[in-house]
Symmetry: C2
DNA sequence: TGTCAACCTTGACACAGATCAAAACGCGCG
DNA sequence: CGCGCGTTTTGATCTGTGTCAAGGTTGACA
């Protein structure tokens, strides 16, 4: 609660770190000002559930800082992650009142939120928001379809390499670098979360990471910090054709 | 070619069978008239490739009749279907010039097409099209994510049951019925296409269908006509919770 | 009516990844 | 510093699905 208060003051849109990629990216100054007045920040701690599938959603919003996951759970407990929410990603679906998936903060996280009703009203009136949201949704659809190939047809080793490549790419994009040559990044997920994303067990994830390490495709500093000496080699292990698939 | 000519005259928008579900569903009469002038029909025969991944896309359009698949192929030939295109589904991505996936007609098929440039212009000017496209894209994203659970976590038997349930639901929706009780439908896919959709081999597909038949979950008339005596039973076999997941 | 090609089914066996189990690591906390 | 707990690694074994191979069915066409 205290957290939420401090977060609330975080910053005016002008200095927002995700301004150029978020739903509001296309808005002009007047539209931005309107959003600025309506927005509020919410913070979540690592491990905290943002929303449960089936719950009423009173807000929509963008991830500003940190990482969250979108997961689906079957009655018997089998789980599948269906999305990884990184800074600038949008949460919530205009026109639908309940959440379809569980949203869980993986790291400490800050979201920029809007109450659903006013946001939908703004969407109807300012086409720039709807346009950008369409673009983002199409990108997510491409990412989901890319992931269908990973889940349906790749081996465990290729799956791990694919996940690392995706994170490496997005991390590079965040730092405005290109994904090639040597790359280092923090791996924000537990082995179990990786398993949930890849349709594997955590034991298999662990073994395959050990395998990639033994073969020099990656090396680790601690458990969660990955060093990729050669991005192209990783991409090859992922089974991606030459230029590493779709940018996420 | 002859086919295309006959198809071209097919019908004015007023009597279009997908009018109420397609991208144009929200358009008013004036907008509809404008689309009517710009549209042209194209026909494809079963087995024909509509477009190859990587090719230039000069048009976008809606499936009016028949079925097509969206597939992704790896260099070594592994294939994953990432979408099933049924009547009213939209093909192509505004703002992108090349196709991301192979689109192949599974049955004889008719599409209602627009050249990409004029369509994009109309989209910019008539928010109704963009709104509907956003809605459709969000639905497809949900479907893709539902499929991620199928691919990542379900057993072969559950996968087959899931596919049959999806087709049964869409077929029921097309005939404006609800999916429950006894249902019969034509199964438009070969075992191989089903395998590509489900991340299985065609042998496993065949064995699991035999299994479901033996256990009375389904029965077959010929190879391609499925009879489901009890939809709820099928849904249960698919591992879906009580009310059968997301409507597609 | 027979022939051919495409599609489907079934069987035997192999193997990738799951499952079960135990031990090692790493980090916060008294 | 050492304790305890969550996370990760590693090992042994099991199993569902893939692979390879051989027939069977169906429908179009001569």
């Amino acid at each position: 609660m205290l957290n939420e208060l401090t977060a609330k003051m975080l910053h005016p849109c002008g200095e927002c770190p995700i301004r150029h990629r978020a739903v509001c990216a296309r808005c002009d100054d007047a539209e931005q000002a309107r959003l600025d007045k309506a927005k509020f920040y919410r913070s979540f701690e690592a491990g905290q559930t943002v929303i449960w599938a089936g719950d009423q959603m009173e807000f929509v919003g963008s991830v500003v800082k940190g990482i969250a996951t979108l997961t689906q759970t079957m009655e018997d407990g089998r789980r599948q992650m269906v999305g990884l929410l990184l800074p600038s990603d949008f949460v919530g679906r205009p026109g639908r009142s309940t959440a379809t998936y569980d949203v869980v903060a993986v790291t400490d996280m800050v979201m920029c939120c809007f109450r659903k009703k006013p946001f939908e009203a703004m969407m109807a009136e300012t086409p720039h928001i709807a346009q950008r949201l369409l673009e983002m949704t199409l990108d997510e659809l491409d990412a989901a379809r890319e992931w269908m190939l990973v889940l349906g047809r790749k081996t465990a080793r290729e799956k791990i390499a694919s996940l690392l490549a995706v994170i490496a790419r997005r991390d590079a994009a965040l730092h405005l670098r290109e994904a090639r040559g040597a790359i280092e990044f923090k791996l924000p997920l537990t082995r179990e979360a990786m398993a949930d994303y890849l349709g594997l067990t955590l034991e298999t994830v662990s073994r395959q990471i050990s395998g990639l390490k033994k073969d020099g495709v990656i090396s680790l500093k601690g458990k969660r910090h990955v060093i990729v000496p050669d991005y192209d080699r990783l991409s090859e292990e992922a089974g991606d054709d030459a230029d590493g698939g779709i940018l996420v």
